[in-house]
């Protein structure tokens, strides 16, 4: 009882821990999470998983169906499809993570400032969001890609720049609601600065829905990348992403259907996993369902 160090006292259950416990009980979400980890590891370890390089051709073989040597078959240039899917997954997952990260940083900062400041600052910042929202973004993306050339980094930034808008709106709404609560008023009356209040009191409490939305943004970003690559504006051969693989698969759909089916399955599997995880997170983090 008379411990003098804080660490000696029993630790309480934080809301994060509470959510984690609930998430672990959700079987679908756990399966989703595991699938994601496995997929990510496989893609990262592609050189060790597969004996082939992604541009290594077997011209004698040409396009061949699944076999013992090439589990998922080969494409028209005789390249191993499994290998290309794994390498393509690196790009797709990276786009998903980096673009979402960009969206997250811009969106959370923008939304939190607008929501906390309120009044005129809020009005101006959110009208800007509205205006950007109104631009036909596909055209904007295509234009940028045409003007600046096909640059991977640019692809990430451009997609991130599309996705932060919704994030900003979500965070602003959260912050506006939280701002009414007395603990924010208490923080003001303690004399904390505006920035400290945003950082220590507002963002940690607003972050729950943001995490959920993030897991749902990653799939939409990956789809966007797939779409851009499908249009031929994203990844250049011989590099591949799932989107570009699917695009190639579509061209030869009738003769070599596996070239479309397997990349499509890889993308769908990942998206499913993300969605299940996102659902589980939403249930786990939602305070309304948490107090039973």
């Amino acid at each position: 009882m008379n411990a003098t160090r804080i660490e000696d006292y029993e630790q309480g259950t934080s809301l994060w821990r509470d959510a984690w416990i609930r998430l672990r009980k959700n079987r679908l979400a756990v399966i989703g999470g595991m699938t994601l980890i496995v997929v990510t590891l496989l893609c990262l370890l592609a050189p060790f998983v597969s004996p082939y390089g992604y541009e290594q051709q077997d011209l004698v073989l040409g396009a061949a169906g699944p076999s013992a040597r090439h589990w998922l078959g080969t494409d028209v240039f005789g390249r191993d499809l499994l290998t290309r899917i794994l390498y393509g997954g690196r790009i797709s997952l990276m786009v998903g993570l980096i673009a979402t990260g960009v969206a997250l940083i811009i969106g959370v900062t923008w939304g939190a400032i607008a929501g906390y400041a309120g009044g005129r600052v809020d009005a101006v910042m959110m009208r800007f969001v509205d205006i950007v929202y109104a631009l036909p973004f596909m055209i904007f993306v295509v234009l940028l890609m045409v003007v600046f050339g096909r640059n991977l980094l640019l692809l990430f930034l451009v997609i991130g720049a599309v996705e932060w808008l919704t994030m900003a709106r979500i965070v602003r709404g959260q912050v506006q609601g939280l701002k009414q609560l007395e603990f924010i008023e208490a923080a003001v009356s303690l004399g904390l600065s505006g920035w400290t209040i945003i950082r220590r009191h507002l963002i940690p409490n607003a972050i729950g829905p943001v995490i959920v939305y993030t897991t749902l943004t990653i799939p939409s970003v990956m789809l966007l990348e797939a779409f851009i690559s499908f249009l031929g504006l994203g990844i250049q051969p011989p590099q591949s992403s799932w989107g570009s693989l699917i695009a190639e698969g579509v061209e030869t759909m009738e003769e070599f259907p596996w070239l479309l089916i397997f990349p499509g399955m890889a993308l769908s599997l990942t998206l499913f996993a993300l969605n299940f995880l996102g659902d589980g997170l939403r249930d786990a983090l939602d305070v309304r369902t948490s107090r039973d």
């Binding site: 630790q11 309480g12 904390l192 220590r200």
Partner: protein, 533 residues
């Protein structure tokens, strides 16, 4: 024969975390024209007990384990859903705590009254409208032939509760169950609603079950009282004997917790002004349907607070008392006037300029569930202000936090727990700890006990008194509850519609209120013990 005869009722809730006995072996009976008061703190099972009679508890997780409830010859606990529905619509009516959430905000109240008359009673619309107007008149709504076409939000809280009562009366019930019907209302309005229920009971020979956490209210209206705690019946009996000689220790504790009588601690006021407020005015711009109008929440208020004084501020909801408290601390920017704190002018300062003064003036909030950051441990919450204002350094902050926890009566073992792991009373202790962490000289306490159960209320009030003495605090204590204020304050200010009506030493105000409004407030808030009836 009794109208309602409940025997050995037990209800439990089966959840993931185990079985909770919400109601445990409760028996009571109620005659026509009688009022039964059911009293208990939150979580005592008083509402569940009544809801289960009407089949209104969610099943599962709820389950009625045993018991019978004979009402007019049939057992409510064992009849079909269809039969129950008929009883609910016809014989037993309910009114709830918050009349706003029980009325459909999109329908005129007339429509809400007429509809059941037309559909269930088969009356013509004209006849139904006439009867609706008569009902509104009966529950004391002025000008019913016009107000019948208003929407719920156009009524005040008390008027809405009257509308709810009118709706409950449509079916001409024999039993009225009122679940905390006056808790959300101001004291003067509360008194009127109680009188209305009493009058209806007499006129219509109604049986009434009146659920409340407030012994004082129940004392004024009930014939029989049932005291509940943790689902069990503690004591039951006629109101007189229960109040005159409570048999059980818990009932005595409840009775003792009703704040009564004058302040026990000595008046520590000095002659030195700590706070001087002059002509303070706070206006809000309200934009309604595109038209901007101005609400004067605080209207040129002037007063002085002496060092060491506990100054009470009373008023009903909407009187501007909370706005005044926040304007003084510059949490809401006042529009004009002056607030002088220990010789320093506060009005017109921005947050940066306020910061050195923030340490010296703090606030305690009403709702301990909203006033603590749910993601921070007690340690983080209490250490933050200390580190910010340099009260403690990184090396001794741990010790300081532990000391502070002793000070506000929190066990040290809780230091790394999060707010959701605490009860309301403990949370309020944490919030009080945060307010005194900076060792302020002046604290604004905005209804710090009104969200708490009455026994907890008493403990928190005692804590506040102790702290005021130990740390030589001066306090502005805002409350709608006159009994609480009388118990705590040296002087009292009465506020209405943004203006101060009068200021007087506590006992002087009780003995000789100068203002008519103060007299009304005082007479409505007296805890009416049975001998006074």
């Amino acid at each position: 024969m009794a109208l309602l005869e409940v025997s050995h009722l037990s209800v439990s809730f089966h959840t993931r975390n185990g079985i909770a006995r919400a109601v445990d072996d409760i028996s009571f009976s109620l005659e026509q024209g009688q009022t039964l008061g059911i009293v208990g703190e939150s979580g005592s099972g008083k509402s569940v007990c009544c809801y289960s009679l009407l089949g209104l508890i969610p099943r599962p997780p709820g389950r009625i384990d045993s018991g019978t409830a004979m009402f007019a010859g049939r057992d409510l606990l064992h009849c079909s859903e269809a039969e129950l529905r008929r009883v609910r619509g016809d014989k037993i009516a309910m009114i709830f705590q918050d009349p706003m959430t029980s009325l459909n905000p999109f329908l005129r109240i007339g429509e809400q009254l007429i509809e059941p008359l037309v559909y269930h009673r088969g009356q013509s619309r004209d006849a139904a409208r006439k009867q609706a107007i008569a009902l509104l008149e009966e529950v004391g709504i002025r000008n019913p032939s016009q107000t019948i076409d208003c929407y719920p939000h156009e009524f005040s809280g008390g008027m809405r509760q009257r509308v709810m009562i009118a709706m409950a009366l449509i079916a001409e019930p024999q039993l009225l169950i009122a679940d905390e019907p006056t808790t959300a209302l101001d004291v003067t309005v509360q008194r009127q609603i109680l009188e209305l229920i009493n009058e209806l009971r007499r006129k219509r020979n109604l049986a009434v079950i009146f659920i409340s956490h407030d012994l004082g209210v129940v004392a004024g209206i009930a014939d029989q009282v049932l005291v509940m705690k943790d689902g069990r019946m503690i004591e039951q009996g006629p109101v007189h004997s229960l109040f005159d000689n409570p048999a059980d220790a818990y009932t005595r504790k409840l009775l003792a917790a009703i704040p009564r009588g004058a302040k026990s601690a000595a008046d520590r006021s000095t002659n030195q002004d700590l706070l001087a407020v002059n002509d303070l005015t706070t206006r809000f711009n309200i934009i309604d349907h595109g038209k901007s109008s101005e609400l004067i929440a605080v209207n040129s208020v002037s007063f002085r607070l002496r060092r060491g004084e506990v100054l009470g501020l009373v008023g009903e909801s909407g009187s501007g008392k909370s706005t005044l408290g926040r304007s003084i601390l510059n949490l809401i920017r006042p529009s004009s006037g002056s607030v002088c704190f220990d010789g320093e002018e506060l009005v017109g300062r921005d947050n940066q300029q306020m910061k050195p003064l923030r340490r010296r003036m703090q606030m305690i909030f009403q709702d301990p569930y909203a006033s603590l950051n749910p993601r921070m441990t007690i340690y983080d919450t209490l250490a933050e202000p200390m580190l910010l204002h340099g009260i403690a350094s990184k090396t001794d902050v741990d010790q300081q936090v532990l000391k502070l926890m002793d000070d506000v009566g929190l066990a040290r073992a809780y230091i790394r727990k999060y707010p959701h792991e605490f009860s309301g009373g403990q949370r309020q202790r944490i919030a009080i700890g945060r307010a005194i962490a900076t060792r302020p000289e002046f604290v604004v306490a905005d209804e710090p006990v009104s969200a708490l159960d009455v026994t907890i209320q008493k403990q928190i009030l005692e804590l506040l008194l102790t702290l005021v003495e130990r740390h030589n605090l001066s306090m502005l204590f805002i409350s709608h509850d006159l009994a609480v204020v009388r118990h705590l304050c040296d002087r009292i200010m009465v506020m209405r519609a943004g203006q101060l009506l009068e200021t007087a030493a506590t006992e002087l105000l009780w003995a000789a209120p100068a203002h008519e409004y103060t007299r009304t407030l005082l007479s409505s808030s007296q805890t009416e013990l049975p001998e006074a009836r």
